[in-house]
Amino acid sequence: YFHDAGFHPKIKYRLNLSSLAPLGPDRCSREFAKPREVNAECQWVENDYEALQERLNTLPDKLSYDIMVPFGPLAFMPGKLVHTNEVTVLLGDNWFSRCSAKQAMGLVEHRKKHVRKALEDLQKVMKNFESRIEFTEDLQKMSDAAGDIVDIREEAENDGTETKGKRRTAHKPHSKPKVSDVFEVHFQENGMDTKFKGYSQSEEELWARLEELERREEMLGEFDRTPDTIEANGEDTTSSEEEKEDKTDLNVVHGVEDSATQDNVQKEVTNSELFSGQVNGRSHYHSDDEDDLGVDHFVPTIFFSHTVEPKRVRINTGKNTTLKFSEKKEEAKRKRKNNNGNGHLVPELPNIKTPADIYRVFVDVVNGEYVPRKSILKSRSRENSVCSDTSESSAAEFEDRRGVLRSISYDEATYSDNSEGILEEEEEEGQEHLPKKLSTLSGTFEAFSGTVIEKEPLSPLIPHPSIAHPVLPTIPERKSEEVLSEASEETTKRISKFKAARMQQTN
């Protein structure tokens, strides 16, 4: 009369092993088999329990049953099943308990609950797997269907320009352009249809490529973000990833057949997958974002370029006043009239020969005092930041800014002391230096604009930008033209005393 309600510990063990770790699609089918097996087993177990319940129900109906009792493996013997209500149940871990049939039923129900929960978990896993596979297949389909792919190409530009553009847009946190930049950069690498087409149908390679792209994207994402934020790259990428996920929803609706499960999947899926999945939806996505970025959209090839769009800036003159450009212009004109002896603007640029120079040059002016900037790439929105240049950047503007700053900010006396020695030194150097410096500086600043204007250096105005070093806060991101003119104006202004002195000397 010993009835054993079996326990299936094995199932539980296997369930613990069923992993939800992301797997490459090549292993997807293999890994898929595992949970499928477990699923099948769970089903089997549940059926077992159901049968058991059935038996338990009917068992106490009669006081005793006439049965054929198995006698060893080969024989049966007629016998009687008695004490039909008494059941000894294995509770697990070598524990048994004697209980009535009804109590046993309760226990079986309880176990079934567990099994059902396991089954549900498995179902979720399977669903995820399925959606991932589907996703991969879709991706492949998309990659094959060349027409759908929008090839987005970004001409590799200098870091400065990119940075600058990014900085602007990044003033608003997680602004679309930022996202799209990363996006597009990714696709610049990814945008080679041929690569996809040339791919064999094996999922393995595809996944390898995706992972590689993801890595590259992360690297680029890192790169892109350094000037903007101090955040960890991971944070940024995740945040933008989330953003992208949001956008993916749109695109999913648009282009991809995937069901809403894709949203869930995306959480587990790598960046690259996300990106790739949005291929055919991109055009929708980017039509909004391409304002400042000068992209022609809705063409098979989207050329993406960063342009530094100069904007009007408010300039902090150091007295917590901000002048607008027009005012500055006037000031500049005034100053120029006063100071400029020869009417030329020497295109002097801050002479940056060592890294330390950079930090000397890019110095913030805070209320008349020089504060070393935390990052030379950071824009100083409130200070005399030319973080976004003005398109009409005439030399005057920058000079003015400079001039104003200079007049307010530094002590001319000290400056003169500092620079005197340098001046004399540089006088000796002669003019040959100028073009060299110009070129180096152009090299430095060329990144910021497409035009480099070299002006004839003036002999009397040998004083070099190096003079500017100790005190001058120069504005980093600028078109070289402006830089040059600015620098010249600096020197002009700054050395007004000296110039006069030297003029006397030369004369």
């Binding site: 326990f7 510990p9 539980k12 063990y13 613990n16 092993l17 000894t88 149940v89 509770l91 697990g92 871990d93 070598n94 524990w95 048994f96 308990s97 004697r98 209980c99 109590q103 309760g106 226990l107 309880h110 176990r111 567990h114």
Partner: protein
Amino acid sequence: MADLIQKKLQGELEKYQQLQKDLSKSMAARQKLEAQLTENNIVKEELGLLDATNTVYKLIGPVLVKQDMDEAKATVSKRLDYIAGEIRRYELQMQESEKKAEQQREVLARLQQEYQRAQGKGVAKA
């Protein structure tokens, strides 16, 4: 020079493999413990479903030994705690092994680099 590095590399590689084996062993043990944990949880719940009128037996070898209900409950609870403690121990062990494996990996990488450099030099010389 290159040979020396190669031998070192071999040695380090073996150490690394050993560490990996330890890691996988701990992992397996931990998983077993987890299975036991769930099982004992179920037993505890089911004991809760029963009342005092049912007799509880424990299988010790071929013998079913009668146990007191409360005793049984206490024993199962204690076993649960024990298993949890064991799992924690194995976790720690795994973490340590992981760290050691990581270090070993670095060593290996360094050695590999040296080896390659030595190889390159050798090629250059020859």
